[in-house]
């Protein structure tokens, strides 16, 4: 018998919703609201509910829902396929690519970074990071495609020149536990999978870095463990963030770019304060870089990514770019990828948007590399 997903409501006192949660009707309840339930049921069960006095609104057939979900995920990497693809890239280009395990997650998954460059120990290095936030799937794909592009074009200019004089490090998935959870349990999960003292789950990895950590207590940088932007019990409390910290400390990158979604923005420090960076040369450099990247992105598909200080989006203490700039003086940008708004998909970006999103970000990422590796040594 066909199975369907239904929203069940009731205005009848003889049919209270709470009864459905305890009654032995064999219902698969997916969601409990104050005034409704969403459940999976077969057609006979749905008919029985109506006979009992409940209003039953069919949302979708279950098969249709599952195929839509599969479509939703197709084209995006999983933790496993990302590892496979990174290994393949390293194996196909052994002379210039090395896969490094830079740490382990809370649930003991490896965190991978691909080093791309002809020489080891170069003093010019740039880093690209992705997926601090689990639900931002596109932020895995853009840095991954960047790594693939660099390796596929390593014999032609300008990539060859960059890889001769410097190194590009790409870590596409900083938060593998969270990503896996979005794939298997909750597509809109944001944090890592740390079990907090109060029993809640997750620390926001992009609030856990050590520059001005914990100096705000607002919606977007919270000290409440259950909140989506929980900063953690102390700076660098999370193994995923420590892995990035140690990588940055070892490699001393001349520039760091971290991908997020969504809103189509190019953010430069500070996040923790609305005051501008005091060093006017640094401010000018990052503002100009963001402006140039904005133009490059716009030139591909006409899409607008707005350059602005991070705090202009909202206040964030303990984020990646504040730390890499504040601690290391490295030009540091956060790129918020497609789409522009929740009405355009928000975190659930259709997979057919991966390629155009990469295409428009490619020249901007290459410009960032050129700026860091091609400029004067820092």
């Amino acid at each position: 018998m066909a199975s369907l997903i239904a929203r069940v409501t009731s205005t009848s006192t003889r049919a209270p919703l709470a009864r459905l949660l305890t009654s032995p009707l064999g219902l698969d309840v997916w969601e409990v609201g104050a005034d409704h339930l969403v459940l999976q049921a077969d057609e006979a069960q749905a008919g029985r509910l109506q006979a009992m006095g409940y209003d039953v609104e069919q949302l979708r057939m279950t098969e249709q829902y599952l195929s839509a979900f599969a479509t939703d995920a197709a084209g995006y990497h999983t933790v496993a396929t990302l590892e496979q693809d990174l290994r393949r890239l390293a194996e196909e280009h052994p002379e210039i690519a090395e896969l490094h395990e830079i740490g382990r997650s809370v649930e003991d998954r490896p965190l991978w970074a691909l080093r791309i460059g002809e020489r080891r120990g170069s003093t010019r290095k740039v880093a690209f990071l992705g997926c601090h936030h689990a639900r931002e799937w596109i932020s895995v794909e853009v840095p991954y495609l960047l790594a693939e592009h660099l390796l596929q074009n390593s014999s032609s200019e300008p990539v060859q020149g960059w890889l001769q004089q410097g190194e590009v490090w790409v870590a596409p998935m900083v938060n593998p536990d969270g990503h896996e959870y979005t794939r298997t349990e909750n597509r809109l999960w944001r944090k890592n999978r740390r079990r907090n003292r109060d029993g809640s789950i997750g620390v926001d990895p992009n609030r856990n870095y050590g520059y001005m950590w914990g100096t705000l207590d607002v919606n977007t940088s919270s000290h409440v463990p259950a909140d989506e932007t929980y900063v953690g019990p102390r700076a660098f409390s999370e193994p995923e963030v420590r892995a990035v910290r140690d990588l940055v400390a070892r490699q001393l990158f001349g520039g760091v770019l971290t991908y997020h979604s969504y809103s189509q923005l190019l953010l430069y420090p500070w996040g923790y304060t609305s005051e501008p960076i005091e060093d006017e040369a640094d401010l000018g450099e990052m503002r100009e870089l963001a402006e140039e990247m904005h133009q490059l992105i716009k030139g591909v598909h006409g899409t607008t990514y707005t350059p602005q200080p991070s705090s202009q989006l909202y206040p964030t203490a303990g984020d990646t770019a504040d730390w890499t700039y504040g601690e290391y003086d490295a030009p540091s940008l956060t790129v918020e990828l497609r789409p522009a708004s929740a009405l355009d998909g928000g975190f659930v970006l259709p997979p057919d948007q991966i390629q155009p999103c990469w295409e428009e970000n490619r020249p901007a990422a290459l410009h960032f590399i050129d700026h860091v590796l091609g400029g004067p040594a820092r």
């Binding site: 997916w30 949302l59 809640s200 919606n219 969504y262 809103s263 206040p315 929740a342 998909g345 928000g346």
Partner: protein, 84 residues
């Protein structure tokens, strides 16, 4: 308890005399998805949204549960042509 109550995806617009920055400065545990010029798109438990309304800080337009939101996204992406 936020963990056991309904979460909404909502657009919250500051009430007269308040600003988007005012809303961002609160410690209400809003999961801010998007900042617009005159509003925020957030995911938040019902009690937090009620608190915003009760304190007359913002008007709240509940777009749906995260599940509703995702289902609508899937429907829309299945229908929409690629505009890139």
């Amino acid at each position: 308890m936020p963990g056991s109550e309904q979460t909404w995806v909502a657009r919250i617009t500051p009430a007269a005399g308040h600003s988007v920055a005012t809303l961002l400065g609160l410690s209400l545990g809003l999961d801010v998805w998007e900042r617009q010029a005159d509003a925020l798109v957030v995911a938040a438990p019902e009690s937090r949204l009620v608190e915003l309304e009760r304190r007359r800080l913002a008007s709240v337009e509940r777009w749906g549960t995260p599940t509703d939101y995702r289902a609508r996204r899937r429907d829309r992406s299945a229908d929409a042509p690629d505009d890139s």
